[in-house]
């Protein structure tokens, strides 16, 4: 390995900067006010604290960092680890992220919630359904296997394997290819379990469409605040 030369050749004389400077500098500079004593005391490798230092690896600090990370990563959806206590909230947020084309963000949110509450089956199932909808076969298989290990007696396992056969037909874990597959179902609605808890009716969609139409097409709303001066006498 190439080490710093001062390490590899400790007896070598150091460069005499004063001499070099004297050779090129005509006006001597008073160095006293601009020099300092170096890194000896206040900068003695403070950033090399061992990782098992309680200040660095303390449980409380880790919780705070995790909490702050969750709030900053999913703003507006969840504000911290405490919000992961509500599976409905998490599943809804993950579904909205998926609908916005940010499936990875939704998956990360579900990952966090599952890490925190692995016993809540609904979180696993929502994650599997979103992976199915995103056609992510590799991750679906991986998470399905983890779900099986975590919830071996789940009554939803048959449904998971059905989705798995459709998404990853070559994966033996989901059983024979000849099992029932969702695309054998023909109809206006996808044959999905709705573990992502999407609304069954279209009220929200209709209202959103009305809102958009009123603001966009009919020009009801306008350009907003226009500063204008009026006098009390006017």
């Amino acid at each position: 390995m190439l080490m710093r030369s001062s390490t590899s050749a400790p007896t070598a004389p150091r460069v005499d900067f004063e001499r070099l400077l004297a050779a090129t500098c005509k006006l001597p500079v008073d160095l006293a006010p601009i020099e300092w004593d170096g890194d000896v005391d206040d900068c003695a490798e403070p950033d090399l604290a061992p990782v098992d230092d309680p200040r660095v690896s303390g449980e409380g600090r880790r919780r705070r960092i995790r909490d702050r990370y969750i709030g900053a990563r999913f703003p507006g959806a969840v504000s911290g680890a405490a919000d992961l206590e509500s599976p409905e909230r998490v599943i809804k947020a993950a579904r909205l992220y998926f609908e916005d084309g940010r499936a990875e963000t939704g998956q990360e949110l579900l990952d966090l919630a599952i890490e925190q509450h692995p016993h809540i089956e609904a979180l696993w199932l929502a994650q599997l359904e979103i992976l199915y909808l995103a056609y992510d076969a590799a991750r679906f298989s991986e998470r399905a296997k983890a779900f099986r290990q975590s919830h071996p007696a789940s009554t939803h396992w048959a449904e998971v394997t059905r989705l798995g056969r459709a998404l990853a037909p070559d994966d033996k874990f989901f059983g024979a290819k000849s099992g029932p597959r969702p695309n054998e179902h023909y109809g206006p609605w996808p044959h999905l379990p709705n573990w992502i808890q999407a609304s069954w009716d279209l009220t929200g969609e209709v209202l959103a469409s009305d809102f958009h139409r009123l603001l966009e097409r009919e020009g009801v709303a306008v350009d907003g605040f226009v500063p204008r001066v009026i006098g009390k006498a006017a």
Partner: protein
């Protein structure tokens, strides 16, 4: 010679420059070992001095004063100069002992190290021609078979070990992301991660078949994507290992750990880390492997355009303030008392003084390019929300600053703005507070591209996201109750939030004054005064100014 200099002090900076100059002059007639030691001494002094300043400068780039800017520019120039000095030394020593001689290798590593460091401190235009010699040094190392030789370097007071190739790739990586898209703190975070990823910063000589970054060693360019087709000498950096590292970082955050747990980057806001995670995800995406045609830019005649910055300023001026300010003021002058006229002049003067006029230089389908002096663009940074009005008779356009880089002329900057909406609307939403009061707030409505309204959003100030209570919008005799439910994008002090509509009901007659603002309707002074107060737009001299609703 003491080991540190206070670089805030101009004498100390001058002193360091003199030392550097003297080393440079003495290179040719100095023994190889002394050349290396002289460069090491210099970089040690620079590292110690910069290390003292770094936490303050990197942690507060938003609040840089001219002195901070001056020091940053100086640090950038010193790293460039030190890299150049090391490059000259490498050139000299390569002739004496070959490219893979112990001393030549050492100064080559220092050249790469400081070239990378310089990228983090760019204030003025980067001298991109230097890519030629950085590639030349790497070519020599590869030909000599020493490109993977581990070297020990010192940065921020810490000893680090990296191969020559890793240092070379780090420099190019930082340069790629230092093009105005990442802020100073974000570059510091990225660099901290790159040091952790050094074992995976390894190249292949042949196209790996998977997504990879590429360096053309016979060219004068930086890191790019895709396979080289003309058969020239190139290095490929596979992306998959880097993406795996990025995912591992996310898992560390899940466990409540910041990586690395020490150093300047570990003290920066988590939002900076998250911004870099997202930036890297976009950079690593496989779909970018294919060459994406750059949007065609149409140059324009450098028309001066007023740009409003931030949600509050956009709501106040962006939706028509520019035209109303002059016409409205003069029209109303006749009816003002002396006191009111004085206030009026005072307001107009402040208004004019704080206007931000930039020159529009090009337009593409996705955004706008501006040029301005440093002074004109002061406090305008990447991720700011802006509005601009391209013509008097056109509505305002809403955008986000995506790029700010030094311009072709010294003291000028080039600003890139991505268009978010070409017809945003301001809208007042009301909510009931915990103590039962009704409060109105102004937001900016941004329509989505589809008619179903699912992609519609509001631009909201960051502080509005603290509570996710429902809000009401009264439109065309109907009260829509809605609730923000996620942030789609965000920037400095603003967020583009998605929402859901919880219900709708007819507006009761008594509430008809609570409305979406409509231009040019008769103004009820009491109503507008209240609305103005609710929107937080009142100043101490506020009684002279009204707002059409």
């Amino acid at each position: 010679m003491k080991s540190g200099l206070h670089f805030q002090h101009p004498n100390a900076r001058g002193e360091f420059e003199r030392l550097r100059g003297s080393v440079r002059e003495s290179l040719g007639n100095t023994a190889s070992g002394d050349v290396v030691r002289a460069v090491e001494e210099l970089e040690e002094v620079l590292d110690a001095g910069v290390r003292r300043l770094k936490p303050g400068l990197v942690g507060s780039t938003l609040h840089w004063d001219p002195a901070d800017r001056g020091v940053s520019e100086w640090i950038y120039l010193q790293h460039c100069a030190l890299a150049d000095l090391a490059r000259r030394a490498a050139d000299l020593l390569e002739r004496r002992e070959g490219a893979c001689g112990m001393h030549a290798l050492r100064v080559t590593a220092l050249a790469f190290l400081h070239w990378g460091e310089a990228a983090k401190w760019i204030v003025n235009r980067r001298e991109r021609l230097a890519f030629g010699w950085i590639h030349y040094l790497m070519r020599n190392a590869i030909e000599g078979g020493c490109n993977l030789h581990p070297c020990e370097v010192r940065l921020d007071g810490r000893q680090r070990v990296a191969s020559l190739e890793s240092l070379f790739l780090r420099a190019l990586f930082l340069d790629r992301f230092a093009g105005g898209n990442l802020s100073g703190p974000q570059l510091e975070v990225l660099d901290a991660w790159l040091w952790e990823w050094m074992p995976d910063l390894r190249c292949t000589r042949a196209w790996p078949g998977d997504p990879a970054f590429r360096v053309d060693l016979d060219g004068n360019g930086g890191l790019r994507r895709g396979e080289r087709t003309d058969g020239g000498p190139s290095l490929y950096l596979p992306i998959a290992p880097l993406e795996a590292r990025r995912r591992a970082l996310i898992e560390e955050f899940h466990r409540g750990r910041i990586v690395p747990s020490v150093g300047v980057a570990s003290d920066l806001r988590l939002e900076e880390h998250i911004a870099v995670l997202d930036h890297l995800r976009a950079a690593f995406e496989a779909k970018r492997e294919k060459l994406v045609e750059r949007k065609e830019r149409r140059p324009v005649a450098g028309d001066p355009i007023e740009v409003c910055v931030g949600v509050a300023e956009i709501l106040l001026r962006g939706f028509g303030g520019a035209t109303a300010s002059s016409e409205g003021l003069s029209a109303a002058k006749a009816s003002l008392s002396d006191t009111q006229r004085l206030r009026q002049v005072q307001f107009a003067s402040e208004y004019e003084a704080s206007r931000r006029i930039l020159r529009l230089v090009d337009i593409s389908d996705s955004g706008y390019g501006f040029e301005a002096t440093e002074k004109e663009a002061a406090n305008l940074a990447v991720d700011d929300l802006v509005s601009l009005r391209l013509a008097r008779d056109e509505g305002c356009v809403l955008g986000r600053v995506t790029r700010r880089v030094p311009g072709a002329i010294l003291g000028h900057v080039t600003i890139g703005i991505e268009e978010l909406s070409d017809h945003p609307r301001s809208i007042t939403l009301s909510r009931t507070t915990a103590d039962g009061r009704r409060e109105d707030e102004a937001f900016i409505y941004v329509a989505g591209s589809d008619a179903c309204g699912k992609q519609d959003s509001f631009i909201a100030p960051e502080k509005s996201l603290r509570d996710m209570e429902s809000r009401d919008a009264c439109i065309a005799g109907q009260r829509f109750t809605l609730r923000f439910n996620r942030v789609r994008r965000s920037g400095r002090g603003w967020a583009l939030v998605g929402f859901e509509i919880l219900g709708v009901e007819p507006v009761k007659p008594v509430e008809t004054s609570v409305v979406v603002p409509v231009r040019a309707k008769p103004v009820d002074i009491q109503t507008t005064a209240a609305a103005r107060a609710r929107a937080g737009l009142v100043t101490s001299r506020g009684e002279g100014i009204e707002y059409d609703l």
